[in-house]
């Protein structure tokens, strides 16, 4: 099963990995990106969603999304 889909994510941004017991705290933007990734959305869809909900340019949103994916990879979650 996809590791991301297993993550428990609260409305406050607390993330729990039931496989390793690790927990993380993510920002409001992080919550939006993580929820979208768990739903299997593409980077482009996530970028559009960030632009629509937060005051950011598409470039900034794309960069944030890439950075977030990189962090997930560092933690072995993607």
């Amino acid at each position: 099963m996809n590791r991301l889909s297993q993550l428990a994510l609260s409305d406050e941004g607390f993330v729990f990995d039931p496989q390793t017991g690790d927990s993380f705290q993510v920002s409001e933007t992080g919550i939006a990106v993580l929820r979208a990734l768990k739903e299997g959305r593409s980077d482009e869809e996530i970028t559009q969603q960030l632009v629509a909900h937060f005051e950011v340019s598409p470039e900034e949103a794309r960069r944030d999304c890439t950075d977030f994916r990189g962090q997930l990879k560092n933690f072995g979650l993607a």
Partner: protein
């Protein structure tokens, strides 16, 4: 179920706690067992003796050394005076005696639910390679040493740093050859040969508590991660987890060895790789964590030992938090006097 007198050892709920109080508390929480807990202590200062809401009556025991004659005489006395239907021994040092004289216990009408001597020996630190192979999980590179020369060869081959472990207890990290030699001598002096030298594997330290039915089936498993530990390495906070590869390894351990009784697997997990660090042939001190998430392994052990039918092991949720805390009780000095002078309290 009729009133059951259950002997529980390891009621030393101190900074390096034994599992006994957690076991006794679990048994008390299963009201249908009607458990009367008989505490088997080695010292009048073991806190479980004074926790009368968990342990009903306590006895000071002779050490389980030699042929165990005095120990078994004491068990016979307890059985005759107060009844003793079943014993759950919770300390490593007791197990060889219980296993050696298992038939005698049965003849005394005292049930246990323990592995065979052969299974017990297999989980020894010097036999872990064989078990890890049968469980199909990894083992850090390991060398078993019975001389100083072999220690030097092991350190040379594995490369520093290494873990230097006693055959029963204790493990130390060595960052220099001199440290390795120091630990080697200290461990030999305390625990004898062999000494185990192991590569250090970095990763998450995850543990599983379980109970095997002796025929290859599981009577329950709970996986945890220790979030914080004391200076003695004992869990203080933890969280339940479900690491698929580790839980499958635990199931293979039960299936392959046909393990009978409680156990704890200590693992290091790095991604999907699971390394076996240690197998404890008894409940760990955090046994109540499993009970708290709905998997009452001591109660299930009692039913299995008495041949009572029970439903399959219940599942549990990942993400349940365990918090140990310190607490105090105040009682009368008479209890301490009774423990010292009569060797029994309650």
């Amino acid at each position: 179920m009729k009133d059951l007198a259950i002997g529980v050892s390891g009621i030393n709920a101190v900074d390096n706690p034994g599992p006994g109080v957690g076991v006794a508390r679990s048994l008390k929480e299963d009201a249908s067992l009607n458990a009367r807990i008989i505490g088997l202590a080695y010292d009048a200062m073991e806190p479980g003796i004074y926790m009368d809401w968990v342990v009903d009556r306590s006895f000071i025991m002779p050490y389980p050394s030699g042929d165990g004659g005095a120990y078994f005489d004491r068990l016979a006395y307890i059985r005759d005076q107060h009844g003793l239907d079943l014993i759950i021994p919770n300390l490593d040092a007791e197990l060889p005696l219980y296993l050696k004289r298992a038939g005698e216990l049965k003849d005394m009408g005292i049930a246990t639910f323990l592995p065979s001597m052969e299974q017990f020996k297999l989980r020894g630190k010097d036999k872990l390679a064989e078990v890890a192979d049968r469980m199909d999980i990894k083992l850090p590179k390991t060398k078993v040493c019975t001389s100083l020369e072999q220690l030097h060869e092991a350190v040379e081959e594995l490369g520093l740093p290494v873990m230097v472990k006693g055959s029963f207890y204790k493990a130390y990290a060595a960052y220099t050859p001199a440290q390795a030699v120091g630990h080697f001598h200290a461990l030999v002096a305390e625990w004898g040969y062999p000494v185990i030298v192991q590569s250090i594997v970095s990763g998450e330290e995850l543990n599983v508590i379980g109970l095997g039915d002796g025929e290859g089936g599981s009577l329950g498993l709970v996986g945890i991660k220790k979030i914080s530990v004391t200076s003695l390495g004992k869990i203080w906070t933890g969280v339940t987890i479900k690491h698929a590869a580790m839980m499958e390894a635990a199931n293979r351990f039960i299936r392959e060895l046909k393990w009978r009784g409680p156990f704890e697997l200590e693992c290091i997990v790095k991604g999907d790789d699971v390394y076996l660090i240690e197998i404890n042939p008894r409940f760990p001190a955090w046994v109540y964590f499993a009970t708290g998430v709905g998997v009452n392994l001591p109660a299930r052990l009692v039913r299995a030992a008495l041949g009572v039918d029970q439903p399959p092991a219940p599942d549990y949720d990942a993400g349940k938090l365990f918090v140990r805390y310190s607490y105090e009780l105040v009682t009368d000095m008479v209890k301490f006097q009774q423990a010292v002078t009569r060797g029994e309290v309650g």
